[in-house]
């Protein structure tokens, strides 16, 4: 029988620190994916994931299981770390990804190029839209949970995701037209 997060947190808090590994194994992939989507960089995503888990371990006494799931709390920590990192970064000149025409997604090489274009488009989104989009589309979290992580209203989350999708769709449209 799988032990739930709440029980694992209780055990770690009681001194059974080895049980923290189960929490790490259970959530590292989703936290890494989220950080990766938000930062667009594997090494930084690895650092953020590591820092998020260490911060969670150090501040475990501050976690209130009655208010949020452990994963929500962890995502909130990771999100804050990512935002701090993005603030520290120098503004990177991103090529305006408005033109991705002339490619056909059927070709694997071109498909890869398209994937990179979409990555660039994601990186060009405002950070709030990017974060909400990654949590919704890549992590497939419910909107209510995203609202808790983003500390905003459900309406705002929906609007951010909608705008992010619109933007990505507008970038994808020329490609689709070309391929038809």
């Amino acid at each position: 029988m799988e032990i739930d997060d709440r029980e694992l947190v209780r055990r770690v808090f009681a001194g059974q620190t080895d049980d923290f590994r189960t929490l790490v194994d259970r959530h590292q992939q989703s936290v890494f994916r989220f950080a990766s989507g938000l930062l667009g960089n594997r090494e930084e995503a690895q650092d953020v994931t590591q820092e998020a888990f260490l911060a969670a371990f150090l501040n475990l006494s501050g976690y209130d299981a009655s208010r949020a799931a452990f994963s929500t709390w962890l995502f909130t920590i990771a999100r804050n770390r990512c935002l701090n990192l993005l603030k520290q970064r120098r503004p990177i000149a991103i090529h305006k990804p408005d033109s991705i025409g002339g490619v056909s997604p059927a070709d694997p090489m071109i498909s890869q190029e398209l994937s990179q274009q979409l990555d660039r488009a994601l990186a060009a989104l405002p950070v709030e839209q990017r974060s909400a989009f990654v949590l919704a589309e890549i992590e497939e979290l419910p909107y209510a949970e995203i609202a808790r992580i983003e500390r905003t209203s459900l309406g705002t989350v929906k609007s951010r995701i909608h705008r992010a999708k619109q933007r990505l769709q507008s970038l994808l449209e020329p490609v689709m037209r070309e391929s038809k």
């Binding site: 590994r21 890494f32 994916r33 994931t49 260490l54 979409l118 990505l168 490609v175």
Partner: protein
């Protein structure tokens, strides 16, 4: 957003995995933090003992000095009293 290239890109992003050694790295740092925390706990215990001993010693020292002062005053005043009575 049901277009195939987008779905393919999304599927690729959902498959992104952290490096295999990441969990071990995190747990070794957790173990380090835990040993530091234990060391700190012992340090605090020792500090408390030291502080309480010092406080006790301080109290003893204060009462000893009070007692010494009383003796000095008594011995200083006693001959005067004896002289006055005589």
């Amino acid at each position: 957003m049901t277009d195939q290239p987008y779905e393919q890109w999304l599927a690729e992003r959902r498959e992104v995995s952290p490096p295999p050694a990441l969990a071990d790295q995190i747990m070794s740092q957790v173990a380090e933090l835990e040993s530091q925390r234990r060391a700190l706990w012992w340090l605090r215990v020792i500090q408390r003992i030291e502080q309480s001993r010092a406080a006790r010693w301080g109290r003893v020292r204060r009462s000893a000095s009070d007692w010494l002062l009383a003796v000095c005053l008594f011995t200083a005043c006693c001959p005067v009293g004896v002289l006055l009575r005589s």
